[in-house]
């Protein structure tokens, strides 16, 4: 079964290509609003609660949601819902618990990046946090971007029957063009537009499937007949349940998500973003689960799914159900999920290079003019993108190896440091640096040596160990600079 065969239909192809080029148009439209470095990285801190909610959610959800969660639901049944509960709950709380305080303090310190914030908040004059943090962030995020480009290029290559290198160039060039034009604003407004595309993929699609199946009771009866475990939400081990819920521990440490909170015009409005973002997260998460369940009922035998791969169920089902136009839009939805994550991460990589390394360390004593900074930001986006493209093509094994640790590594390195910096006045520089290193190393070592024997998701020990290390340094070390409520 060739799930992309339908894309040869001119109408399907036209709609699909439109979804690819629409972001460039948005980049052109917001180009003139990007006049300085703060505009390029933070959109001038003037975003609405609605844009922030949709953008924070879209940036955090990659192809893992559309393809991975639907594949899990296909295999595991209803119990796959637990894979989305942890991060949705964590993100709901962090909109207000982290977002409000971080937004106010980052404006007070004139921080543009998360590392800017740590340095000012903890008065790190020797710039140790910035240096160590930039290395950890750079490695994980570049690998993350490369993996997203690779995922996008692979799908494009199969869909349009193009060589992988050509697909990679197309997928990444489209992202780089609008990012260079409009920076953060282009990224955020594209997230909003992509959210609309994803409504078709993860709302209209499962609703249509449910109607086709004769409604929810009929769907559940069909699944129960296949296996009673399919309709039992607790048909998973305790370790797997904790691992699923533990995914949420990674959310506060994702720099490309957390930076969104720093850019809302009015921090008091973040509580509205929490409701809008949670609603959107729930709709996307359960939409993906429903697609997997409907897919299992439609294709009970995994051999009927392309490559016998459950993660292809979204594609298989959409090819079976829809007309070419909707099908083109649904395939566009997968790219929307992939690229909305890649562009946000790429922007953080370039802010790390331009702001954290070049401007604040290398050119510390020789400030750059605003026009120079803006030009540099654009070129570094291009440069970081090219590095990611090369890695995605030449070193994809290394990239995928690094990405295995990326969510957990970032979560355990930055999430703990951020939470304690915001809420515990004894948090100090040595503790944050030790916590970042502990979080990163524990994630990697646990995954390599202990995950198989214990069955515990590496982020859980890494997060709590990192938290303990920062707390220990806080208790033993010098008292840090007390936070001031902004």
């Amino acid at each position: 079964m060739d799930v992309y065969q339908k894309l040869t239909n001119p109408a399907a192809l036209a709609v699909f290509v439109l979804t690819l080029f629409l972001p460039v148009l948005i980049g052109l439209l917001v180009r003139k609003k990007t006049r300085c470095q703060s505009d390029f990285f933070l959109g001038g801190r003037r975003l609405s609660r609605f844009s922030i909610a949709l953008s924070a959610v879209a940036s955090g959800r990659s192809s893992w949601l559309v393809l991975g969660v639907s594949g899990m639901a296909y295999t595991m049944g209803v119990s796959a819902v637990w894979s989305v509960v942890g991060y949705i709950t964590a993100e709901m709380v962090q909109f207000v618990a982290i977002g409000g305080r971080l937004r106010r303090l980052s404006e007070k310190y004139d921080s543009m990046t998360l590392l800017d914030f740590f340095e000012s908040h903890l008065d790190d004059r020797r710039q140790v946090i910035r240096s160590v943090g930039a290395v950890i962030m750079g490695i994980f995020l570049v690998a993350y971007v490369a993996a997203q480009f690779n995922a996008g290029a692979n799908s494009l290559s199969v869909a349009l029957k193009l060589p992988l290198a050509v697909s990679l160039l197309i997928a990444s060039a489209l992202v780089l063009v609008y990012m260079m034009l409009g920076g953060y604003l282009a990224v955020v407004y594209n997230d909003v537009v992509r959210a609309m595309i994803m409504i078709v993929g993860l709302v209209v699609f499962p609703l249509f499937g449910l109607v086709k199946m004769g409604g929810l009771p009929a769907l559940l009866r069909t699944l129960e007949a296949l296996s009673p475990a399919q309709v039992n939400p607790l048909a998973l081990s305790f370790g797997a349940l904790i691992g699923f819920l533990g995914i949420g521990l990674g959310s506060p440490g994702q720099p490309h998500v957390v930076v969104r909170y720093m850019t809302i015009a009015d921090p008091a409005k973040l509580r509205y973003s929490a409701v809008i973002g949670t609603f959107w997260n729930v709709v996307l998460g359960w939409g993906a689960v429903f697609i997997g369940l409907i897919g299992r009922a439609a294709f009970p035998d995994v051999a009927a799914v392309p490559d016998s791969n459950p993660e292809m169920i979204y594609l298989a089902l959409s090819a079976q159900y829809f007309s070419p136009v909707i099908y083109g839009l649904l395939i566009g939805g997968i790219f929307a999920a992939i690229l909305s994550t890649a562009d946000s991460q790429l922007l953080v990589v370039s802010s790390t290079v331009v702001r954290d390394l070049y401007e604040k360390i290398i050119r510390k004593d020789r400030p750059l003019a605003e026009a120079q900074k803006l030009g540099l930001c654009r070129w570094v986006v291009l440069g970081s993108g090219v590095v990611s493209i090369v890695l995605a093509y030449l070193a994809k094994d290394l990239v995928f190896w690094l990405v295995l640790f990326a969510w957990g590594g970032l979560g355990a390195s930055f999430g703990t440091a951020l939470i304690l910096s915001l809420y515990w006045k004894r948090t100090n520089i040595a503790g944050v640096v030790a916590g970042m290193v502990t979080g990163t190393l524990t994630t990697i070592l646990w995954k390599v040596f202990l995950k198989d024997s214990t069955g515990v998701y590496e982020l859980i020990p890494a997060f709590f160990l990192s938290l303990a290390v920062i707390a220990l340094f806080g208790l033993l070390g010098r008292k840090g600079r007390p936070y001031t409520s902004a």
Binding site: V81, T89, V96, L220, R271, V275, T278, F279, V282
Partner: protein, 33 residues
């Protein structure tokens, strides 16, 4: 089957409901704002 209904219908509604609780709590000074 009841479990499936709870997981597929009640659980998402409960999470959205919880976000409204967070919304209310965040109005109080010192709760993240």
């Amino acid at each position: 089957m009841t479990g499936a209904y709870l997981a597929l219908i009640a659980l998402p509604l409960a999470i959205v409901g919880l976000s409204l609780v967070v919304f209310r709590l965040a109005r109080r000074p010192g709760r993240g704002e």
